[in-house]
């Protein structure tokens, strides 16, 4: 087994932490502090991390951000640990699970969990662009803010974006995504009113007004959080696609590969095929090239390229073909994908027999859309609407980003899949609405200026009409929301 870490990269200087070592199924593995267990294992050459619950299908990495459950493993005796968001430490004992795990009996980590009650002004769930931006504003006005993220690092998915952002310099246009994350997180950590709680999973809301959260650490805590206001900015998860052998290790979400190569500096494969030509698919193809991966092409089921022309042009001029009117029909391989087969589609978007093209690839990246992480809002009883064009179930909200639950707000991809600029803006709108309720007179002015920019300028761009239309379908008037609340 080699070391698949990227040493030299045209954009990113990988700063690796102290060397640590742990065991994986009894074998000693070395990794660097700051890596997740899965990133460390991937760098060491492991590609299979679990099996299906029945134990008959192999599971590789897929989402890399603690959402998809394809890497559930036993860590120091604790089963069902998502090793993609579990930081490596010296001396960990990591084991693969075959199928469903046994209830742990004498784990050395099972102790009485300490409970802690926290009172804050605002609880923000999610530390990506929407949550971080909201926290920055609210903390700046002196409100006590708790930002909870289940990852061990804040910044959400900005940390794996290596391209310079589009838009306006007000919203970090021209700055690379991971640099924006560094800036935002450093601003937050310098603000005494803001606490970022990492490895903290907010699992539900109780009648008495408390949010329950598990904070994993040393020691692990059970938090009961009481907040006057809540902003749920929990983002979205990558979708899979139906085709034969779509679960072979090496078939992963485009974002999963971004996490590996751009956050941890681990090469996800040697030869790749990308499915889906939206901006995510186009951008990941370019980033694969930068990481030294050969990109054999992008398959796009529609007749037109889905993403922005400028992203497409960047990969086309480096020789990456875009097969419009094509979809993936199957993958082949043993314990890893070795071949992918795409086919032309007819007018009904169904594969046309006899038009197959084969690619010898060890990586198939799915860039076929995102599903908002709505489960907490759903548990709380927020009203939702099913909008496939915005990613699935989307919470209803007012134009001030307030959900059907008074003083509970939504922002970012959870409010309908869009992109980082609008996530920043929605976080701002929610924050200023909270500030208005707290009696800051200037907040209304700020909010209305931002709302005007969002709806009357930014979202007037022809290329964002689809997401704008979708957002309009889940945005209701104050009066309508009052009526819905009953």
């Amino acid at each position: 087994m080699g070391d698949y870490r990227i040493i030299e990269h045209p954009i990113i200087d990988f700063k690796r932490g102290r060397k640590v070592s742990f065991t994986y199924n009894g074998k000693r593995v070395e990794a660097y502090e700051g890596e997740s267990i899965l990133a460390g294992l991937y760098a060491a050459g492991f590609r299979v991390f679990a099996t299906s619950p029945q134990g008959d299908r192999l599971r590789g990495a897929f989402c890399m951000i603690g959402r998809c459950s394809s890497c559930l493993s036993r860590v120091n005796g604790i089963p069902n640990t998502r090793i993609c968001i579990e930081p490596v430490r010296d001396g960990l004992i990591v084991e693969t699970q075959k199928g469903l795990p046994d209830i742990p009996k004498d784990s050395r980590e099972i102790v009485d969990v300490v409970e802690e009650i926290k009172d804050v002004d605002v609880l923000i769930i999610g530390a990506g662009p929407a949550g971080s931006k909201a926290a920055e504003i609210l903390g700046g006005y002196g409100l006590r803010v708790l930002v909870a993220t289940d990852h061990f690092k804040a910044g959400g998915q900005l940390v794996k974006q290596t391209h310079k952002f589009f838009g306006d310099t007000t919203y970090y246009g021209g700055v690379r995504g991971f640099k924006i994350a560094e800036k935002l997180v450093s601003n937050l950590s310098r603000n005494p009113n803001v606490e970022i709680s990492t490895r903290t999973f907010v699992y539900g809301c109780f009648k008495e007004g408390f949010f329950g959260a598990e904070k994993i650490g040393d020691p692990s805590l059970h938090l009961l959080i009481r907040a006057k206001y809540v902003i749920v900015a929990s983002g979205a998860s990558e979708k899979s696609l139906l085709f034969e052998n779509n679960d072979l290790p090496g078939i992963m979400g485009a974002g999963g590969a971004q996490t590996l190569m751009n956050e941890y500096g681990v090469k996800p494969g040697e030869d790749a095929l990308v499915i889906g030509s939206g901006n995510v698919g186009l951008i990941v193809a370019y980033q694969l090239l930068q990481a030294g991966v050969r990109v054999h092409g992008i398959a796009e089921v529609l007749r037109e390229i889905g993403g922005w022309f400028v992203h497409a042009a960047k990969i086309r001029r480096h020789g990456v073909p875009i097969f419009t009117g094509h979809t993936i029909v199957r993958a082949e391989g043993g314990d890893r994908v070795e071949k992918a087969v795409i086919s032309q589609v007819g007018k009904d978007l169904k594969p046309l027999p006899g038009t197959e093209k084969e690619f010898n690839v060890d990586l198939v990246l799915l860039a076929v859309g995102l599903q908002p992480n709505y489960s907490l809002l759903s548990q709380m009883g927020a009203l939702m609407k099913y909008l496939p064009e915005a990613g699935g179930l989307i919470p209803l909200r007012t134009r001030y980003m307030e959900t059907s639950i008074r003083n509970v707000f939504v922002a970012g991809d959870l409010s309908g899949i869009e992109e980082a600029t609008t996530a920043f803006i929605e976080g701002e709108i929610a924050a200023y609405t909270i500030l208005e309720r707290e009696g800051f007179a200037k907040a209304v002015e700020e909010r209305d200026r931002i709302l005007n920019y969002l709806w009357n300028e930014y979202r007037q761009s022809p290329v964002v009409q689809r997401s704008k239309e979708a957002k309009l379908k889940v945005t209701v008037s104050e009066e309508e929301m009052k009526r819905l609340r009953g």
């Binding site: 030299e8 990269h9 045209p10 954009i11 391209h163 310079k164 952002f165 589009f166 838009g167 306006d168 310099t169 246009g173 021209g174 690379r176 090239l289 930068q290 030294g292 007749r303 037109e304 390229i305 922005w308 022309f309 400028v310 992203h311 497409a312 042009a313 960047k314 990969i315 086309r316 001029r317 480096h318 020789g319 990456v320 875009i322 419009t324 600029t421 300028e457 930014y458 979202r459 007037q460 761009s461 022809p462 290329v463 964002v464």
Partner: protein, 161 residues
């Protein structure tokens, strides 16, 4: 088939979008080609230009180049998030000079021989780097190419990796 199907912009499409500088201006010396034919919400090039030669009213407008103000300095090449701006100079003898963004390894250096790629990644010739500078990890590379390739060359490959 248009650029939305191919990912490749043609001269006709550039002209139709009003993005081509005049022939007269091209003959005068280096000038920016803003290969940005879609109304995306982005205005980074406007504030990037030290000569205020790029303008737009709304953030989603196509960029407009004032070809008399543009001196072909290439600052916009470095700053455009879409890597969609090139500077071409067809004013000198039988060679053309193309300034393009480059974000790959190995890093460019003056005098290096490079493979010249067109908008589809096809190798259309060899050229020499005559100038290279870097801004926030984007290299701005000027290559000397055969004059007839002035509208074709849009990327380079540096051998040795």
């Amino acid at each position: 088939m248009g650029f939305k199907e191919t990912g490749v912009l043609t001269l006709e499409e550039m002209m139709r979008a009003g993005l081509m500088p005049s022939e007269e201006r091209l003959r005068k010396g280096p000038v920016a080609l803003l290969e940005c034919p879609e109304q995306i919400p982005c205005n980074i090039c406007v504030s990037a230009c030290p000569f205020k030669s790029i303008s737009m009213d709304k953030i989603y407008d196509l960029p407009r180049l004032d070809e008399n103000k543009c001196v072909g300095c290439g600052v916009c090449v470095a700053k455009c998030p879409g890597l969609a701006i090139f500077v071409v100079d067809v004013s000198k003898g039988d060679k053309a000079y193309i300034t393009l963004p480059y974000e790959f390894l190995p890093r460019p250096s003056k005098g290096a021989k490079v493979k010249l790629l067109d908008r589809e990644g096809k190798i259309v010739g060899e050229g020499v780097i005559v100038k290279a500078w870097e801004y926030e990890k984007t290299w701005v590379v000027t290559v000397e190419v055969e004059k007839n390739l002035w509208f074709d060359v849009r990327a380079i490959r540096i051998e040795g990796r």
